[in-house]
């Protein structure tokens, strides 16, 4: 466990140290994945379905705010839909506008959740999103998740019916609009998914905030079970076409991801819970403190004490070197050792010491 925690700390440190470079790279990867999925699924406009163009757009996204990834993905999808049918593009544009005006005026932070939902849904593993969102965000994340599902089902159904839409003539514009809207209005699968994900987010959020041991683990497992149950019940009642086996595997993957998130965000040691009670003028406090699992950094202190020159003559005797190595917390482990110096300092008295961050010479 100690080694894993050490790796975690190293990864965190590496991210913090290189955040300036890593963040654009991550944004680039997200934008590239998102636009590639859109182009792969739709890909009706040959001019836009071009790797060079996708790379340029992704590069632009890497230096722009995260909301731009959603914006560029939406633009690419609209261009492809325009090549398929003007009516389909107009309906999808209207729906994008509705989503933007109603929900995303409040903040662009949620757009990331929308994007992840749509991307993971296209990879057939959207079950990760509600569990992880319940763990790290609040119940309001239901809105971007629902929007992400709407966008995914809308585009997936248009892609499925593309041949039929393409075959329709210009005089059947209303039929095209109806076909696009039907993919949302009469879609029981979408309805079941939105209900299941919303309930899962609430369950996970409520349980993980409770003052119980292993609350995060309980929350994610309960969320996964609730999610599967609702999908199953929805499948039985509305006769949707869920692959239950796929949903089950997806949920297991979601649990693994949630565990990974817990490891990075909420790694605590329940064996060392401390319960304290105190009071002030106004309140009694019953506090439960759970220590975080951390690996104490190895701190090495080297003290080199050289003997002073005496009577004008240089002392060429090897100086005694005391090397103190301290590992872990102060009171846990303490070791001292004495060894011969690696270098001989001739001249005035020298004191040299160092730790992980500073090196000082006096």
């Amino acid at each position: 466990m100690g080694n894993i925690l050490e790796v975690r700390d190293k990864l965190k440190f590496l991210y913090i140290k290189n955040e300036v470079f890593l963040l654009p790279v991550l944004k680039f990867m997200l934008a590239f994945t998102s636009i590639c999925i859109v182009s792969g699924r739709l890909g009706y406009m040959a001019k836009v379905d071009n790797l060079g163009l996708i790379l340029i757009a992704s590069l632009m996204c890497s230096f722009l705010p995260i909301g731009c990834v959603v914006f560029f993905s939406a633009i690419f999808s609209l261009l492809h839909l325009y090549a398929l049918s003007l009516e389909a593009a107009a309906v999808v544009f209207a729906l994008y506008l509705i989503i933007f005006l109603i929900f995303f005026r409040f903040g662009t932070k949620d757009s990331l959740l929308l994007l992840f939902t749509a991307i993971l849904a296209s990879m057939k593993i959207p079950y990760i999103v509600p569990i992880v969102a319940g763990l790290i965000t609040g119940p309001m994340s239901v809105i971007p998740i629902a929007c992400g599902l709407v966008v995914y089902y809308l585009l997936a159904n248009i892609s499925r019916n593309a041949a039929a839409i393409h075959a329709m003539g210009e005089e059947e514009a209303v039929a095209k609009v109806r076909m696009v809207l039907d993919s949302l209005l009469g879609n029981d699968e979408l309805l079941v998914m939105i209900i299941a994900f919303a309930v899962t987010v609430f369950v996970v959020y409520i349980l993980r905030r409770m003052s119980i041991d292993y609350s995060w683990t309980i929350a994610m497992i309960a969320g996964a079970i609730v999610n599967l149950m609702i999908l199953l019940i929805g499948d039985l009642i509305l006769d949707t076409e869920f692959g239950f086996f796929g949903a089950f595997l997806g949920t297991i993957l979601a649990l693994l991801c949630a565990k990974l998130v817990e490891f990075f965000k909420f790694c605590v040691d329940y064996n060392r819970i401390e319960k304290v009670q105190f009071e002030d003028d106004e309140y009694y406090y019953y506090v439960k403190a759970i220590p975080k699992m951390n690996v104490a950094k190895q701190r090495k202190t080297v003290k080199k004490i050289n003997s002073q020159k005496s009577g004008g003559a240089y002392n060429k005797q090897p100086a005694a070197r005391v090397e103190t190595e301290r590992t872990g917390p102060r009171n846990n482990y303490y070791r001292e050792r004495t060894s011969a110096p690696k270098s001989v300092t001739i001249g005035h008295s020298t004191m040299e010491y160092e730790d992980d961050e500073f090196e000082t010479l006096d």
Binding site: V91, A94, L97, L101, I102, R105, V174, V177, R178, L181
Partner: protein, 128 residues
Amino acid sequence: MIKKERVILMTKLASYEENEGRHASKISRYFRGDYVSVHLLKSWVCITVVYALLAGLSILYDLETFMENLYKMDYLAFAKELIKWYVIMAVAYLVAVYIAYSYRYMKARKSLKRYSQNLKKLGSMYHR
């Protein structure tokens, strides 16, 4: 001499100024009523556009029936129905916006108060 406590506090303050503080100071320029009113006004425009889009899409969805009944329908009743749904939708949305922005304003004020307390604390550290 570097004081660890002071450096930590300064880092916290600088981080707040760079991120959350920038947003909070913008909000704090307004009175609560003005801030919420401006956003209610913007939201009213948005919900009107959204309603127009939804109404347009629903008419387009069933355009044939709509065209068939165009000359037979009771326009007053149709307008009443449209307005009724518009009012219901707008009121529901604006109530949600009112709650969201009031909460946001309160949160910003609270964080600014904490920020100024920390600034005072930092100042007192220099005068020790």
